[in-house]
């Protein structure tokens, strides 16, 4: 039975919960807002009044970052290599995940585990061998080479998550299709793949965000300035600032350019992204 004395501390506890959880959450918003505001200030204003709201927004920072610091090119490079990689990744991974979850053949589980094992391989272990391999294929310092690596290293996670989606589909539809005389390929293409569309969308978004944000592989595989991806472009800008003096607002304009697309995706698709990750991690 609840008495008055037990209700009051509970309300207090809730208040503490709101303050802690709410404060932490608010900081995420503060981060985004502060970076965007910083990108619209003059260097002097940024250092002098880091907390102020710029009343005369310096949109020139964006013009300079986009054209002079070549972020326009970097943006297109990122968009191109990441979109095509995600597309190729789905084409390659969906059939594999399908047979690994629904097929009946010897060694299915072994192959499945073998692919999952790939998620545990530390990517830096591959830095040197990948450069050797990509050079041998004459793909070093090309976006094609980077894309091939993006796809290959994303296969384990993608197959793993898609397998989960395929296993959750009802088997009655499959049996009905077999009775109707569908070939294996027809069952996959006309029956199972459409049903797995939410899963495909989820892995597409997660991989898009992951590859859009990565820079260790592009750092290792890309040398030419005109082939940089956005994240690598920011790293290079930081490196050059060390010698030319700090155009921090321009840098924050670059940071805003790299983070806006994924934040927009997140605003519309956060539930799907979070459920995809928790499904992959905590099945």
């Amino acid at each position: 039975m609840k008495t008055k004395s037990s209700i009051i501390p509970r309300a207090w506890k809730n208040a503490a919960g709101y303050i802690i959880v709410g404060g932490w959450s608010a900081f995420s918003l503060f981060f985004v807002i502060w970076v965007v505001l910083a990108s619209l200030k003059s260097t002097r204003n940024l250092f002098g009044n880091p907390w102020s709201v710029p009343l005369n927004p310096a949109f020139g920072n964006y013009v300079k970052t986009w054209f002079v610091s070549r972020f326009g090119e970097y943006f297109l490079n990122s968009l191109l290599v990441v979109s095509l990689s995600v597309l190729a990744l789905l084409v390659v991974s969906a059939p594999a995940a399908y047979v690994l979850s629904r097929g009946k053949f010897r060694g299915r589980e072994a192959i499945s585990n073998f692919i999952v094992f790939g998620m545990g391989v530390p990517i830096p272990l591959l830095f040197v061998p990948l450069v050797v391999l990509v050079s041998a294929l004459h793909l070093v310092d090309t976006l094609t080479g980077l894309g091939v690596i993006y796809v290959s290293l994303s296969v384990p996670f993608t197959v793993y998550v898609l397998q989960g989606f395929f296993s959750s589909l009802p088997s009655e539809l499959e049996s009905a299709a077999v009775i109707d005389g569908c070939s294996d390929w027809q069952i996959f293409w006309h029956v199972m793949l459409p049903l797995a569309r939410p899963g495909l969308a989820t892995v597409a978004i997660l991989n898009f965000v992951g590859l859009w944000n990565e820079y260790q592989l592009s750092l290792v595989l890309i040398n030419s300035p005109e082939k940089r991806t956005l994240s690598l472009g920011i790293y290079s800008l930081i490196t050059s600032m060390k010698y030319t003096g700090g155009d921090w607002p321009g840098l924050f304009a670059g940071v805003t350019i790299v983070m806006i697309p994924t934040i927009i995706l997140f605003v519309f698709l956060s539930e799907r992204m979070i459920s995809g990750i928790t499904m992959g991690g905590v099945k």
Binding site: N14, G17, I20, V21, G22, W24, S25, V32, V35, P50, W51, P95, A96, V99, L100, G103, I111, I115, G120, V121, P122, I123, P124, L125, L126, F127, V128, P129, L130, L133, V151, S152, L153, V155, P156, D184, W185, N213, E214, Y215, Q216, L230, S231, I234, Y235, T239, K242, W248, V255, V258, M259, T262, I263, F266, E271, I274, I277, T278, G281, V282
Partner: protein, 289 residues
Amino acid sequence: MVIAFLAPALTLYLGFLVLPAIQAFYLGFFESSGFGNKARWVGFENYERLLSDGLFWLSVRNMLLILVVGGAAVFGFAFLFTILINSGLWGKKLFRALIFMPNVIATIAITTFWSFAFMPRYGLLTSILKTIGLTSLAGVAWTAPENVIWSMMVGLVWISTGFFTILILAGADKIPTDMFEAARLEGAGNRQIFRLITLPMIWDVILITLVLWVIQAIKIFEFPYAFGGPNIDQNLYTPAIYLYIMGFGQRDPIYQLGYAAAIGVAMFIFTVIAVFLLRALSPRERVEF
């Protein structure tokens, strides 16, 4: 049909992940001064050198600090948020999304903000401390060699907490709600419910998240490397950063490919050992529900 469906994925996986991983082990037995140069077989020399390389052990120490201290903070916050969010707060989905949000932002964007925050003299932190009158703290050099790893850790813990909170929350959400209701009727408090119901029921989830954290921490490269910027402080070196610097150089290229590969192999071995230890230490019996 099975083969046709599997072949493309398996080919890429074998060719660009498994094969290079094996090749790293092979390269670790060579000394090579650059891509395209002739490599010389040196047996276990690279590994002997690793054992006595102070910089390598510094990088291992930093990695362990991230793994243990950073991990304790990340999981501490993640559990705290799980308890608080599940104690009946309104707006659960909104809080969960906002706590997770830094994880969709590029690492390099996050570290740029934190570099500015910890910048000596003009940084955000210094400006806050001055405003609230803590002038003695405002003078601290947050990026000085003895402090820099902790400054880096703040941002790292911030984003990682978001990631692990949603995983642990998802684990807690799988527990049937009638168990909580029954416990509440019996008069159990939030803390008791967490310790006696939530924790035992999500042991397997905790184990998986711990394995994920260990794997992530051992291979960590992007966050500390970007935070350190050009001419990165040695106190921020992790094995992966040391590997990169040995293999690809920074301002003065040093190309030591065989040695870099050996560091990668060491990281792989750390990962295997850590995962096996975690599995061995975890309780065998699982609560089924």
